[in-house]
């Protein structure tokens, strides 16, 4: 059975102080889920395989040993540290991984649906003649095998995709949906031994980058403290005019402990500072109450606020995806609602 290969993401810091990015644990959790699905014999074709596929974790980084050891220790999985001759870039990751992957011959190859994973996975899928399914939010089985679910139609629908069995399937998995629990060893085998760690040097000659970095900015300026916020009042495209920003701030001011957040389109339009952005490319928040004002609910936004205890959405359109992720959906014109709310105080 061809193995399941996970490409870990590591935050590379100076002085070799690298950290495993949290999304890596989610990838491993998903790999174990796929492994269990295959082992339990879903579908006739897959079920013929008695032994479950092995899982290998690839850790590409300039100094991969420490994060690779951490992964092997806390998962019991076979981990391969790929020592890059310089910091990993998407371009060189694609080049350096292909040799390694040809040797491993995976059945499934898992990347995070992040800036890095998105750029690398599709090209590699072409190079390795694999099937690419990106932005996967859910994996399930039916009588014929594995089915991958991913958002389509501006997040209003979910597409179910089946790939050919016995053919490399490359997946990018949306962060925040596959469970963040640090994975444990195979069931029934606990307590488990730490996984083995092997180290491979990726030769500089095997990489031929043509892109040249000119500059890289640090974190975006501005700071919004979501950590201590009990309530987050977030606004999106549905607020309409820029003038309505003030109204949302006024609304938020009447709610003790509330902080204003925003969805990506408002930040892209330059209406509000980056530090207020909630979502995969912004902040992840988990307040007691999340109030989504005029937010339709893209997957990227939902991933940043799914951990909120309670969610209220205020939206004109009851079919907006956010309604399916709200406890209360107030179907209203935002301005009118806020005006009435302010009057009632």
């Amino acid at each position: 059975m061809n193995p399941i290969v996970v490409v870990a993401e590591v935050r590379e810091k100076s002085a070799g102080k690298n950290a495993v990015r949290p999304v890596t644990w989610e990838l491993i959790a998903a790999a174990k889920k796929i492994q269990a699905m295959v082992r339990d014999g879903v579908g006739e074709e897959i079920g013929k395989d008695q032994s479950p596929p092995d899982i290998y974790i690839l850790v590409p980084a300039q100094n991969p040993l420490a994060p690779a050891r951490e992964i092997a220790r806390s998962t019991g999985l076979c981990t391969i540290a790929l020592a890059w001759p310089f910091p990993v870039t998407p371009e060189t990751l694609k080049q350096g991984l292909s040799t390694e992957l040809v040797a491993l011959d995976p059945g499934f190859l898992l990347f995070a649906h992040t800036a890095l994973g998105r750029e690398v996975a599709s090209g590699l899928a072409v190079r390795l003649d694999g099937i690419m399914v990106s932005g996967v939010t859910h994996i399930r089985t039916d009588l014929e095998g594995l089915v991958f679910l991913r958002p389509v139609m501006d997040n209003r629908q979910v597409l179910c995709v089946r790939t050919l069995n016995k053919h490399l399937t490359v997946l990018t998995l949306v962060p925040g949906v596959f469970g963040k629990d640090a994975p444990r060893g195979m069931e029934g085998k606990e307590p488990f031994e730490p996984g083995s760690v092997s180290v491979r040097e990726v030769a500089q000659t095997s990489l031929s980058p043509v892109l040249v970095q000119r500059s890289k900015s640090g974190k975006a300026r501005g700071s919004t403290d979501f950590g201590s916020a009990k309530i987050v009042v977030a606004m999106g495209r549905g607020i309409g005019e820029k003038e309505n920003l003030d109204k949302v701030f006024e609304f938020s001011n009447r709610l003790p402990g509330a902080v204003v957040g925003a969805s990506r389109p408002l930040v892209d339009q330059g209406w509000i500072e980056y530090s207020r952005q909630v979502g995969i490319t912004g902040a992840t928040v988990a307040p007691d109450l999340y109030i989504a004002c005029g937010i339709s609910g893209s997957t990227q936004h939902l991933a940043g606020m799914a951990g909120s205890k309670w969610v209220i959405s205020i939206n004109k359109n009851p079919d907006a995806p956010i309604c399916r992720h709200s406890d209360l959906c107030i179907q209203a014109d935002l301005n009118e609602f806020i005006d009435t709310f302010l009057e009632s105080q």
Binding site: E119, S122, V161, R162, D268, I280, H325, S326, L328
Partner: protein, 245 residues
């Protein structure tokens, strides 16, 4: 500078997709500001691979200022969604023919389409053509012999890179604002020929799209309609009952 922008409709089927509009805007910007602006050698072509109805968005691209339109004709797919791998192969086949005389210096895509939302076609085309690719480019500028690309990473981090031509970039929001198609351009464009390409065969995908379903509900989703007074009351009650104030 020869630029090709790959476009596809938005979910309404009538307009150019929002991200593809950004890509076209980015291409037009380079043509207008770069070296050789306004000369015959500087050109922005658009290409789409889809059913006959998609001709309409080529007209809209002319309205924005595209010079030439290419339509890789496929039959209408009742499900509407076509795997990115298929689109990528159709585009690569077309590009090979279009580049017989000279290469495109730059091929642009939206960061993803609004319907399939995969973001795969750009990097796949780049891989097939063996050209460098940057995804999630926010801003691009031509520096004569190279392209300067500002791309986005998580956490609002932006990186500026130099890229040699020929290359592929996918564009996402953050800098460009697509211009509206001008009616005068669109009327003039009525006479502009669209290059129609009929693929010999449509690549067979290795994945199958089974069905589309509604997103799973993760919360109750109790809908509160009625007067805004009633709604505010329901809102206040919700907060009070859960001691959120």
């Amino acid at each position: 500078m020869k630029i090709l922008v790959c476009i596809k409709p938005d979910v309404s089927g009538k307009e150019i997709g929002p991200f593809e509009s950004l890509a076209l805007e980015a291409g037009l910007n380079i043509k207008e500001s770069g070296l050789g602006a306004g000369t015959d050698s500087s050109r922005v072509d658009v290409i789409t691979a889809g059913p006959p109805e998609w001709r309409e968005i080529i007209g809209r691209a002319f309205g924005m200022g595209a010079d030439r339109g290419v339509h890789v004709l496929t039959e209408s797919d009742p499900s509407g969604l076509v795997p990115a791998s298929v689109t990528a192969e159709l585009l690569v086949g077309a590009v090979a023919g279009l580049e017989e005389k000279s290469q495109y210096d730059l091929i642009l895509f939206g960061v993803m389409s609004q319907d399939l939302m995969a973001g795969q076609t750009g990097p796949m085309v780049a891989e097939h053509l063996g050209r460098p690719v940057i995804t999630a480019g926010v801003r691009i500028e031509s520096m004569d012999t190279r392209l300067e690309v500002q791309r986005e990473w998580e956490g609002g981090v932006r990186e500026t890179l130099d890229m040699p031509f020929p290359c592929v970039v996918t564009i996402q929001p953050g800098f460009f604002k697509p211009r509206y198609p001008r009616l005068s351009n669109m009327l003039k464009a009525k006479d502009k020929p669209i290059v129609k390409l009929i693929p010999r065969d449509i690549p067979k995908p290795k994945e199958s799209f089974l069905e589309t379903v509604l997103p799973q509900k993760t919360r109750a989703g109790r809908i509160i309609s009625g007067s805004s007074k009633d709604q505010v009351q329901a809102f206040n009650e919700f907060l009070r009952e859960r001691a959120l104030l």
